[in-house]
């Protein structure tokens, strides 16, 4: 399969989980009350408050896009990671019965999914850098620091590497963590069936932390990168 192939499983699961996120939060948003919140509203409010606190703590400019972006990133990645906790062979087995013989259930174990999100973040970084500082300002930022102006080619090289390192690190960190986690689940699944739980259960419990943490890190780094794009040097 060359570059032009599409991982249908990744697309379907990620879009499906994205739609679930939008549907769930949208449903709560429509029936929101200013009185005592119901259980779902209470849950959604807690999540939104958590994200909003983080955005307010890191991002000090006025930009209505950042908080919803952060919320979407956090919840969506969390949901995609959450698929990791479903026993590793169950959903592929069901798909296998329907005639699909290879399926990846966790979209974040596909570097295409994490890379896609990271490239979107890179696009936002460049967009807001130019919007805040103009093309000239952005170019100046890339070429006139950290060393004096005479070292322009060196500065340019260094800054572009730094800029590109942001999405690469975002994509690979998430992908690496989730892929490794999934891999260990697959390896555990190769053990005799009566002993599997001994390793699988602790790993799953540990994974509750990992999936939340990875979603949180992706969100926080996105906010930090966009705050840096707004910063004027």
């Amino acid at each position: 399969m060359g570059f032009w192939a599409i991982n249908v499983d990744t697309m379907l699961w990620s879009v499906g989980l994205g739609i679930f996120f939008l549907w769930f939060f949208g449903k709560v948003a429509k029936s929101v009350t200013s009185g005592v919140p119901g259980n779902t509203q209470n849950f959604v409010e807690t999540v939104i408050e958590f994200v909003d606190d983080n955005v307010k703590g890191i991002f000090h400019y006025k930009n209505p896009v950042i908080a919803p972006l952060a919320l979407t990133i956090f919840v969506w990645i969390f949901l995609m990671n959450l698929m990791d906790l479903v026993p590793v062979d169950w959903l592929p087995y069901v798909a296998g019965q329907m005639g699909i013989h290879f399926m990846k259930v966790v979209p974040t174990t596909d570097v295409n999914a994490t890379g896609g999100m990271a490239i979107s973040v890179l696009a936002l970084i460049i967009y807001y850098s130019i919007k805040q500082k103009g093309v000239g300002g952005f170019m100046k930022e890339l070429s006139f620091q950290p060393l004096p102006k005479i070292f322009l080619p060196f500065n340019l090289f260094l800054e572009i590497v730094g800029l590109l390192a942001k999405p690469v690190s975002l994509a690979l960190r998430l992908f690496g963590n989730m892929y490794a986690g999934e891999m260990i689940f697959i390896l555990i699944a190769l053990l005799p069936f009566w002993i599997q739980w001994l390793l699988s259960v602790p790993w799953a419990i540990f994974h509750i932390l990992v999936i939340t943490l990875q979603a949180f890190i992706f969100m926080v780094l996105t906010i930090v990168y966009l705050a840096m794009a707004h910063d004027d040097h």
Binding site: G35, V36, P37, N39, N42, F43, E45, T46, L85, V86, P87, V88, D89, W90, P92, Y93, G96, H101, A189, L190, L191, P192, F193, W194, I195, Q196, W197, S200, V201, A204, I205, I208
Partner: protein, 156 residues
Amino acid sequence: MNINLTIIGQAIAFFIFVVFCMKYVWPPITGALAERKKKIAEGLEAADRATRDLHLAQEKATANLHDSKVQAAAIIEQANKRANQIIDEAKEQARAEADRVKAAAQAEIEQDANRAKEALRAQVAALVMAGAEKVLEASIDEKAHAQLLEKLSAEL
């Protein structure tokens, strides 16, 4: 893809995992959520209560103000009445005093007049006596005429 015992093994693991989550992961989360909900409910209730209290206090204040206004009006009215009464009393007293002074003055005047009359009467008697003496130029029996003169002066 062939089904084998792995799927049972995963089911066992998943079952244990779910039980673990139910026991140790879920309760803290729902507990935190419940606490948040309780706090919100309490906050809203407190706000409601405060609004109600404020209304009550305002009503009470209005009532108090009204009461005190009524009381103030009553006090002013009473004071006016009392003032009028005092003025009347003073007038009455002044009038009585004036009457008394007038009466005393009159009595004194009368007394003085009587005293003057008395003196005049005595002098008239003496004058008459002197006149008569001069007219008669004769020795007159004072004793004989004194009685007569006294009678005369009493008639004056």
